[in-house]
C-alpha cells in the first residue's frame, strides 16, 4: 500500500503531543502536517491543512475535543476524526464522541499496535476513496 495519509494531532499536553507526533512520524505512510494544543487551534489548522485524519484529545482547556469535533462536523464534514481519551474509564465521553461522528476513540497511554491499525485502515480508506473517485 503506497498511499500516504496526512494527520493533524491535537493535545494540550506538550509531552503527549510530541510523543504522539514522534510515534506517527515513525509509521510508514504517515505525514504529520500540523499540531494543535486546543480545540480552537485544531479547527483552524484542520480547515487550513485539510488532513486525512485528525487525532484529538477529549479533555483540553479552552475548547475541549468534543466541542471541536461538533464544530468540525459543519466546517470540515469530510475530516475523519479519531478521539484520544485519557479518561479510559469514562464511557460517557467515548459514547458522546462516537455520537458526534468520531471514527474511533483510542485510549492513553498509546498502544502502538492500535495506532498502527488505525493508520493502516485510514490508508486503505483513502486508497479506496481515490480509486472510487478515479472511476
Amino acid at each position: 500500500m503506497d498511499e500516504k495519509i496526512t494527520v493533524v494531532a491535537v493535545d494540550d499536553s506538550q509531552i503527549v503531543l510530541s510523543h504522539l507526533t514522534r510515534l506517527l512520524s515513525e509509521m510508514e505512510g504517515v505525514e504529520v502536517v500540523g499540531t494543535a494544543k486546543d480545540g480552537l487551534e485544531a479547527i483552524r489548522i484542520v480547515n487550513e491543512a485539510k488532513p486525512d485524519l485528525v487525532l484529538m484529545d477529549i479533555v483540553m482547556p479552552g475548547m475541549d475535543g468534543l466541542t471541536a469535533l461538533r464544530t468540525l462536523r459543519s466546517t470540515a464534514p469530510n475530516a475523519r476524526v479519531a478521539m484520544v481519551s485519557s479518561v479510559g474509564g469514562s464511557s460517557t465521553r467515548a459514547e458522546e464522541a462516537f455520537r458526534l461522528g468520531a471514527i474511533q476513540v483510542i485510549g492513553k497511554p498509546f498502544d502502538v499496535a492500535q495506532l498502527d491499525a488505525l493508520v493502516t485502515s485510514e490508508r486503505a480508506e483513502k486508497k479506496a476513496r481515490i480509486s472510487k473517485g478515479a472511476r
Partner: protein
Amino acid sequence: MAVKFFGQFLIEQGEINATQLRDALDFMEAENLSLGLFAVEKTWLKPMDIHRIQLEQRQKDASFEEIVLELGLLPKAKLDALIQEHEARRVRIGDALVRKGHLAAGRLGGLLERFKVDQEKYTTCDIAMPADLRAPKLAAALVQLLPKFTERLAEIQLKVGEAERANGQTLPDYCAAVVIHMDKGLELLLAGDEAFAARLTAGMLGAPIEDVNSFLLDDGLGEFLNVLAGNAVAIFEKQGERVPFDPPRLGGHSEATAGYVFPLIATHGKAALVLSSIS
C-alpha cells in the same frame, strides 16, 4: 510510625540490611511470573490474549481477572484454579530473604505478625476521609485507585499514609492538579520528585525513561491525573451521575496550604497527594 513495605520494616527493625533486601528483591523478580505470564506458561492463555488484557486494563479500572472473564478467555473455575496455583507459587519478600539466607526461617512468622500490627491503620481501604473534606466518596475512590494505577502504568508500588491537615508541608518539586466538580469541587494534587515523576511519565507514554524530557515532568503528572480522575469519575458516572472535571493545572505548588496531605510511600522516588475542597 509510617507506611512501609515489609522489607523496609525489617531494615528498621535491624533484621536485615539494604544490600540483603536488594538481593532478595532481585531473587523475587527472577522467580515470580505475573498472573498473565503464568497462564501463558501453563498454555491456558496465548501471548496475544495478554496483549488484549493489557490494552483493556490501560483504559479502564478492571482487574486482570475481570477482563479475562469479560473477554471469555477462561471459564471462572479455571481462572480460580489459575489464581490459586499462582498464589501458591509466588515467592514473597520474607520467603526470598529466608531462601537467600538473610533471615532465619524461624523468625519470619513472628516478624510478619509484628508488621501486620504496625501497618494495620494504613491499609488503603480502611483510610477514613477527613470529615470536612467534600465529596468524601470521590476522595476515597481516588485514594484507592491511585496505587492501582501507579502500579499498572509505571510499576510503581505505592502505599497511602494517613491524612494530615495541610500546614505548609514542603511538597516534592513536580506537581499537577485537577479539579473535579462533585459536591462543589474537589482538587486533587499530585506532587513527586524527579525519580517518581519521570517513571510515572515514562509509564504513561509507554516510553523508556531516558526518553522523558525532564522539563515536562509536571505535564506527565498532569496526564496521569487525567487518567486517575477519569477512572474515579467513571465509578459515579456508572451510577448515572455526570461528574465533569477540568484539564490539569501544572506546577505552582511548593508547599501544601489547603486541604489534606496524604503521604505516599513509593518504590520509586518521593510523592504526596493533596486533596482539598473547592468552594
